[in-house]
């Protein structure tokens, strides 16, 4: 509360400052003139007040500060912002400020000018939207989005313009000097759904993602149409009605295609440029983020220069470059870009709304015509709904999952107009359009109505209609696996039923992308950055290291480091079966702290065995989900253009395919053999609880003979990569970074028994591709197993691995394959 009070004072103070500034400006100008006229200075000035010197930047900075302060004040109390969206409150703050300035100046010295808006305030928002666009969702729904954006906007514009004109003719508006063309012009500028407003309002509502992407995507893509319509009608108005003939109309239509596609293409070009740049910036990582902003801004300006759609250009630039940039740049740069973009976008949005409010407090622009204004509001509302319903009806015939009625309602209601409309309105030429002020006033009222009133109603409406909300809950493991199973299933069924579905195109794109785009646009190191395991290990270790030190410090001194016995005691407490004396002490103790990963305050004390066991379980949890996320096979349909982590699997797609292929062939061979020899299917490892499992691994000497062997062995000729690694964790390919990434392999359970003899070394992937075809070769690999021990200590991705590690030291050298197997092989 104190903060709020202070914030109020700040705000008031800065507002005062602002209104003092402008009269001060005048005064200073005078005094400057005076002082200049005295060309002989009487003495050396110690301090001078040089306002003009800093005027422009000072005002800009001051206004930014004031806008941010408004936001501060507004966000101080969440009770209010829950009911009234922040954007509405910002507009009201703008009203207040505008009022103050008006009172001081009797004129509105500060307004939202189109130049400032279109060149400085809008680009960051658009760039941010493009960069953070959920690509998969976007492109899946692209058809629907385009329909709404293009057809919807044209419909809105035409219907509004014509209806207003009709009403004018009908006399509902009194005497106005507006012709049909001007009505259409007005219609085109007010028809477009505004991305800023949509974001601002929908952000707090959390509707389901399909709905959001449809409205949001529409608001972005309709710029293409808006720009064209506005320019075309503007030109028509200038030409006058007489000169419009078929040619002009056709030219208008062509210009639409040029503007829209040109803008998008330009955006792609800039996006590619950006990717390419980031590919080469290894040595200047510190200013990598700068490239993103600059090139993004340039894409906007270039499109503006060529009279193409600047918003489309900026959006597609961001959409196209996301993936590669995130792969190419180093972590910190990626974070920097994200945060900085959010700062700019948020800041811009705040300023836009504040200035919208301020600009409204201006007597000179207000012309009131009840009929015009009310009819506009009414028609906008009605035609939006009609448009949405009709288009959705058509779309639902083609969509796999139809849009429900409730979603359509929200979509219709979410057709918010915003600052873009205002900017366009102000840009009109008052010589050509006599009633410009009326239009500006109407636009303002429409904007305020949609943002404030509709914004306030949106949240309760969504709740009331029980719109399906975005699921934010963490998926269970089953769900994650099942989702992936579904994807694979669908691909399989499509193949079986001979579909060339959606995914044919995606397939082709993916192949193209992998062949060319990755090569061209991604750093070789990014492409090779395969090792998710290393990432896990790395991250865990980072956290561990931090916690280790903080833990040590919290105990008064880094006694841990100095006192070896303390370390060992600590470990003992953590569970006898799990740890043992490890050669790599620091790594080990750091791993201990990994257990309290979830625990922000390292509350581990030497006594808290329980807690660490819980931590262990949580750790398992973390690992399970993480592992699942990382390692589930992607399948053909996956195109998650999100983060570099996902690249790893995409780049290993070939290997994935290899793996699966080999497994499949192997399985077939088994079943073939079993059919031939009349034997049952290969046995699988029976159920083990964790304890049993540990026990099993601990006396692995007796482990091997326990398993039954089957004809599965013979299939192993296909794939030597399956080798049992009882000795421990995951190979760290980072250690062999410059060799082919060694794929640490694991036996599939149903083949476990077949592989036990073959040792733990996973041959390189090249070897995988050319499998040695005899069991003899496999046996040759066995002795190599011993060498893996040296690397084991570095593997600490998880506890079982650690435990395994211990076992590997205890294990006797692998027993020779039991004779029965030999018999089968020969």
């Amino acid at each position: 509360m104190g903060l709020r009070r202070h914030a109020d004072l700040w705000l008031l103070g800065s507002a005062m400052l602002l209104c003092c500034v402008s009269p001060l400006k005048a005064e200073v100008k005078n005094s400057e003139h005076e002082s200049h006229s005295n060309s002989n200075i009487t003495g050396i000035p110690i301090v001078t007040f040089k306002w003009e010197h800093v005027e422009t930047p000072y005002l800009v900075a001051l206004w930014v500060l004031v806008s941010f302060l408004c936001k501060l004040v507004i966000e101080a109390n969440h009770h209010v912002t829950n009911i009234i969206p922040e954007s509405a409150l910002l507009i009201c703050a703008g009203f207040i400020l505008g009022g103050i300035i008006w009172g001081a100046d009797l004129q509105q010295t500060f307004k939202l000018t189109p130049t400032v808006f279109f060149f400085y305030l809008l680009p960051p928002i658009i760039l941010d939207s493009g960069y953070h666009m959920p690509n998969k969702l976007f492109f899946t729904n692209l058809g629907a989005i385009l329909v709404y954006a293009v057809i919807g906007t044209c419909w809105n514009a035409a219907s509004l313009g014509l209806s207003l004109w009709g009403c004018h003719k009908g006399g509902a508006m009194g005497e106005l000097d507006i012709g049909l063309l001007q009505y259409l012009l007005f219609g085109s500028l007010i028809a477009a759904v505004d991305p800023v407003a949509v974001l601002a309002v929908f952000e707090q509502v959390h509707v389901n993602e399909v709905l959001f992407i449809l409205v949001f995507g529409e608001s972005l893509l309709n710029d293409g149409v808006t720009v064209v319509l506005f320019n075309v009608f503007d030109a028509f108005v200038t030409l006058g009605g007489a000169q419009i003939d078929a040619v002009e109309i056709i030219k208008g239509i062509i210009s639409f295609f040029v503007v829209a596609f040109g803008g998008s293409l330009l955006g792609f070009v800039f996006g590619l440029l950006m990717c390419f740049l980031t590919r080469c910036t290894k040595n200047i990582q510190i200013i990598e983020p700068g490239f993103i902003f600059v090139v993004g801004y340039l894409s906007y300006l270039t499109a503006e220069m060529l009279s193409l759609s600047a918003i489309l250009s900026c959006v597609f630039c961001g959409v196209c470059c996301q993936k590669y940039i995130n792969a190419n740049m180093n972590e910190n740069s990626v974070k920097t870009v994200k945060y900085a973009m959010k700062v700019f976008a948020n800041g811009s949005e705040t300023m836009i709304f504040v200035f919208l409010g301020i600009s409204a407090i201006d007597k000179t622009i207000w012309v009131w015509n009840t009929g015009f204004i009310l009819l506009t509001l009414l028609f906008i509302f009605i035609y939006r709904f009609i448009g949405v319903f009709i288009q959705t009806w058509i779309l639902n015939r083609f969509r796999l999952v139809p849009l429900e009625f409730i979603d359509q309602l929200i979509m219709g209601f979410g057709g918010l107009r915003g600052a873009v409309a205002y900017g366009l309105a102000v840009m009109m030429d008052e010589n050509k359009i006599k009633e410009k002020n009326l239009m500006v006033s109407t636009t303002l009222i429409v904007v305020f109505f949609t943002v404030i009133v509709q914004g306030i109603i949106m949240k309760p409406l969504v709740k009331w209609l029980k719109v399906k909300k975005a699921t934010e809950s963490e998926l269970t493991l089953i769900e994650k696996v099942q989702n992936r199973v579904f994807d694979h299933m669908l691909v399989a069924i499509e193949d079986i039923s001979g579909q060339i579905g959606h995914n044919y195109m995606r397939d082709k794109w993916k192949n193209f992308e992998e062949k060319w785009m990755m090569w061209l646009l991604m750093k070789p190191s990014a492409r090779k950055k395969q090792d998710h395991v290393f990432n896990v290990f790395h991250q865990l270790n980072l956290k561990d290291a931090v916690e280790y030190v903080s833990e040590g410090e919290s105990r008064g001194s880094l006694e841990f480091i100095r006192n070896d016995s303390a370390i060992i005691d600590f470990k003992k407490k953590l569970g006898e079966d799990i740890f043992d004396t490890m050669p790599d002490v620091t790594a080990d103790t750091s791993f201990d702290h990994g257990i309290v990963l979830r625990d922000p305050v390292p509350s581990v004390s030497l006594e808290m065995h329980e807690q660490t066991m819980n931590g262990l379980r949580e750790m398992e949890d973390l690992n399970s989900h993480h592992l699942l996320q990382e390692h589930l096979y992607k399948g053909r349909k996956q195109h998650r253009h999100k983060f570099s982590r996902n690249h790893l699997t995409i780049n290993t797609d070939e290997d994935e395919v290899q793996e699966i292929f080999q497994r499949t062939m192997r399985r077939r061979l088994e079943s073939f053999k079993s059919a031939k020899m009349g034997m049952g299917p290969p046995k699988i490892i029976s159920k083990h609880t964790k304890k049993e499992q540990q026990k099993l691994f601990s006396d692995s000497g007796s482990f091997f003979p326990d398993f039954e062997f089957s004809e599965a062995d013979s299939a192993s000729g296909y794939d030597p990569s399956y080798s049992y690694r009882s000795g421990g964790g995951i190979e760290n390919p980072a250690f062999m970074a410059d060799l082919d990434p060694v794929v640490p392999v694991q036996i599939p359970p149903w083949l476990a028994e077949a592989e036990l003899y073959s040792g733990a070394v996973s041959p390189s992937q090249r070897a995988q591709a050319r499998p040695p075809l005899s069991a003899g070769d496999l046996r040759r690999l066995a002795p190599l197993r011993i060498s893996t021990r040296s690397t084991d200590s570095f593997m600490m991705a998880d506890i079982p691995a650690a435990e395994q590690r211990r076992d590997s030291f205890d294990l006797p050298p692998p027993p020779p394959p039991p004779p029965s197997k030999d018999g089968r092989h020969q």
Partner: protein, 194 residues
């Protein structure tokens, strides 16, 4: 319509199949073409080897299971009606037409789809997904980088999350419940070309 209904007569029990599965005549014809294409020796029925000819299936981790789903344990051959019945599971869920309770649950309803998915896991058809069965699926779905122990822990965790009556296995109801937030109708439907 005239031509398609006359060619529909090539398909035995065509009308009945249409009613049962909900496929349109055009769909059925197309599927029949596909069936005949897969049936290289024109035997009139399909065998697992015919499916294995489809190259893409070898690259699919659940390919083997899907093939298995077409062929229940006793049968080695697949005739066209069975082929179509399985594929019917993947039809998009239509609006709820009123159907009488006596009719069996349509294959492409949410429950029908879930049953199919469940069967993919439950290979021994005992009505439960045991830990091993889950392990097998996980093994198939996860890359080779995952160690056996990690796999076990994932399977363990997954069962813990889903198993409500703590019997160590996932029954169909538990399976259904754990997937209640998933949009099955969308995720398990493809648009069949006409």
């Amino acid at each position: 319509m005239g031509s398609s209904s006359s060619s529909l007569s090539h398909i035995p029990d065509g009308q009945q199949l249409m009613g049962e599965t909900g496929f349109s005549a055009a769909h059925l014809l197309r599927l029949h073409e596909r069936f005949e294409l897969l049936d290289k020796d024109s035997r009139g029925h399909l065998r697992p080897e015919d499916f294995e000819e489809i190259r893409e299936l070898t690259e699919n981790p659940v390919g083997g299971r899907i093939i298995g789903a077409f062929f229940p344990p006793e049968k080695e051959t697949l005739d066209f009606p069975s082929f179509v019945r399985i594929l019917a599971h993947f039809r998009p869920t239509g609006k709820n037409r009123s159907r009488d309770r006596t009719q069996p649950e349509p294959a492409n309803s949410r429950t029908g789809k879930l049953k199919f998915a469940f069967k993919l896991y439950d290979q021994d058809r005992d009505g439960k997904i045991s830990r091993d069965e889950l392990l097998q699926v996980l093994r198939a779905m996860l890359g080779l980088q995952v160690t056996e122990e990690q796999l076990q822990s994932i399977a363990e965790r997954a069962i813990q999350e889903a198993d409500l009556n703590s019997d160590g296995a996932i029954s169909f109801d538990e399976f259904k419940k754990s997937l209640e937030k998933v949009d099955i109708e969308h995720k398990m439907s493809i648009r069949f070309l006409k």
